[in-house]
């Protein structure tokens, strides 16, 4: 009993972790299922069919490609615009700072459905045709604030004397930015980019409002939840999960090795 009391935090924490991981385990297990009907909700029998033919479902892989493209372009857009804002906020004094800070904060403090609906109102009123471009615009909009926050944190912790040192050592403004500012701000920018990619790739609510007949991967999953869920969805979900974990582990190993050689 006293052991339990002593390790209460550990036990509670691990239970939460189990709660968080459970759905992924289910997704993985059910990627080997051979469902009876159109829905993949109850276990029938083991099968590798879906893994052998991941793109065997009409339109699914197209939607996946579209989502990846969208995420990539949204990331580029949000990172470029967001980094510029972050630098301006940290490094310069200017008018209307408070208003600009609120404008950046508000999208994060707004339920998605409100932004989704109002953006749709704008597009309808302007007579803009819904599709890839409207979704891209929306994604850059809601990723922007998160990028600003991530990059700002990094730039704030950056010693401004480093850039002064570069200028002092004959580096012009462009050289200073490329050789010193950018490499040092890189971790913050990378964090912002990762966040933007993940937010855009996984977004459903705003996309659903503004996509028109364009179908992203989350929208495909949503649609199939009404019509019937192909096992391939689980295959994609599992593959991305495994891929991501492998990438993180590989990255960790590489940095560890680098650290070792550096100190040797």
């Amino acid at each position: 009993m006293s052991w339990i009391r002593k390790n209460l935090v550990v036990i509670a924490g691990l239970l939460t972790l189990a709660y968080m991981i459970l759905p992924n385990v289910v997704v993985m297990v059910f990627s080997f299922n051979k469902p009876n009907g159109r829905f993949n909700y109850s276990w029938q029998q083991f099968s590798l069919d879906a893994w052998k033919d991941p793109c065997g479902v009409a339109d699914m892989c197209e939607s996946l490609t579209l989502s990846l493209q969208l995420a990539a372009w949204s990331t580029v857009g949000a990172v470029v615009l967001g980094t510029m804002i972050a630098f301006a906020l940290v490094r310069y004094r200017f008018r209307a700072r408070g208003a600009i800070n609120s404008l950046i904060f508000l999208p994060m403090a707004m339920p998605e459905v409100v932004m989704a609906a109002s953006l749709l109102t704008l597009f309808l009123n302007m007579g803009i045709e819904l599709g890839f471009w409207t979704v891209l615009i929306a994604h850059i909009m809601f990723c922007l604030s998160f990028v600003v926050t991530a990059v700002k944190a990094r730039v704030m912790s950056m010693d401004p004397r480093l850039e002064e040192a570069a200028r002092d050592l004959y580096a012009g403004p462009a050289q200073t930015f490329l050789r010193v500012t950018l490499p040092i701000a890189a971790p913050g920018i990378a964090a912002g980019a990762l966040l933007a990619f993940a937010l855009s790739f996984d977004d459903f609510i705003i996309t659903n409002f503004n996509a028109g007949s364009t179908v992203t991967f989350p929208m495909f999953v949503w649609g199939s939840a009404q019509r019937g869920t192909p096992v391939q969805i689980n295959v994609i979900g599992t593959a991305m999960f495994v891929l991501a974990v492998l990438m993180v582990v590989a990255g960790q190993i590489i940095t560890n090795r680098r650290k070792k050689t550096a100190t040797a």
């Binding site: 935090v9 509670a12 924490g13 691990l14 239970l15 939460t16 972790l17 709660y19 968080m20 991981i21 459970l22 759905p23 992924n24 289910v26 997704v27 059910f30 109850s42 510029m84 804002i85 004094r93 200017f94 600009i100 404008l103 999208p107 994060m108 403090a109 707004m110 339920p111 998605e112 459905v113 409100v114 932004m115 609906a117 109002s118 953006l119 109102t121 704008l122 309808l124 009123n125 929306a138 909009m141 922007l144 604030s145 926050t149 993940a198 996984d202 609510i205 659903n208 999953v221 939840a225 869920t229 969805i233 994609i236 979900g237 991305m240 999960f241 891929l243 991501a244 974990v245 993180v248």
Partner: protein
């Protein structure tokens, strides 16, 4: 050695120094940096809100077009008709937020202070689910909470469901399509948004503070109450906001895991906008939701005394 010395500058007749102004180009740099991004937010975030404000006071129909008639009655009608869903949204989101804090804090604490060399692995496990689309994971809950699934059977055997149905959270021996399923899904979906800020602020706490507190006669429980928890407040504040705000407007969990009796305000806005095509009502409802959330957030931030969200 050297003979060149200084005098202090002109003490006699004070010469008005010729002031140099920094070049205009330099002063404009921040504005050029801000321009594209801020313009983007103004056009695609702020302007849409204006459009929506105008839509919310329009009347008309899809066929004949909508006209601004300053018809504020829409707000009254929308609120009268949909206040149960609105209340339900705040209730579900609030419950989910409280559960996230309750479940997330031990895990964040575990990772920050007790994980040792497992810390990175645990962090990866917290973040990893993100990489599977949240819709797929939410659908998995349909399997987990299905009638006669392992979890539901276990809850039944332990008579947990008797209690929860008496409370009105579940119905009979079912979990799916009940409020509990929706709250469970919301909690699950937004847990990482609670854990990560909590972890960040816990990790910043100097371990020696715990030792100092214990050295000054504080028991572990008192140490937590008087030292650890107050210092993790920034994480608690941003975590609860990052959980509550999206949860209050969510409609995916209610749609996939709930029933017609668990519809949230998000579901209403979505169907008014995309199916019923009653734009004024949908716009009015969005504004009501936005106003409530912003009000709560402002009051909360004031009370918690922090200005930073993330």
């Amino acid at each position: 050695m050297t003979t060149t010395l200084t005098k202090e500058a002109a003490p006699g007749p004070v010469e008005e120094p010729v002031l140099r102004k920094p070049p205009t180009r330099k002063r404009l740099v921040p504005y050029w940096l801000l321009l594209p991004g801020i313009l983007w937010l103004l056009v695609f975030f702020a302007l849409p809100l204006v459009y929506q404000a105008s839509t919310s006071v329009q009347t008309g129909s899809l066929e004949e077009g909508f006209q601004v008639t300053w018809h504020f009655q829409t707000y009254v009608d929308a609120f009268t008709e949909y206040w149960p869903q609105l209340l339900r949204s705040l209730l579900y989101a609030g419950t989910a937020t409280a559960l996230c804090l309750l479940l997330g804090y031990p895990l964040a604490y575990l990772i920050a202070f007790k994980a040792g060399r497992w810390r990175n692995l645990l962090l990866v496990l917290v973040i990893a689910p993100f990489f599977t689309s949240f819709l797929i994971r939410t659908l998995a809950w349909k399997t987990i909470l299905a009638d006669d699934s392992l979890v539901v059977d276990a809850l039944n055997a332990l008579h947990v469901l008797d209690v929860t149905s008496w409370l009105g959270w579940t119905e009979g021996e079912r979990v799916l399509a009940t409020p509990m399923a929706v709250v469970c899904g919301l909690t699950y979906n937004f847990l990482p948004f609670m854990i990560l800020p909590l972890y960040t602020s816990l990790e910043r706490i100097d371990g020696r503070l715990h030792e100092a507190a214990q050295d000054l006669y504080a028991s572990p429980a008192t140490t937590f109450r008087k030292v650890t928890f107050p210092l993790s407040m920034p994480g608690v504040v941003s975590g609860t906001l990052l959980t509550f705000i999206p949860a209050s407007g969510d409609y995916v969990n209610a749609e996939l895991l709930g029933s017609t009796d668990t519809k949230m305000i998000g579901n209403v806005i979505q169907s008014q906008f995309l199916r019923v095509l009653d734009y004024p009502t949908a716009a009015a409802l969005s504004f009501i939701l936005m106003a409530i959330v912003l009000l709560m957030v402002t009051v909360y931030i004031r009370k918690a005394g922090t200005e930073d969200l993330v």
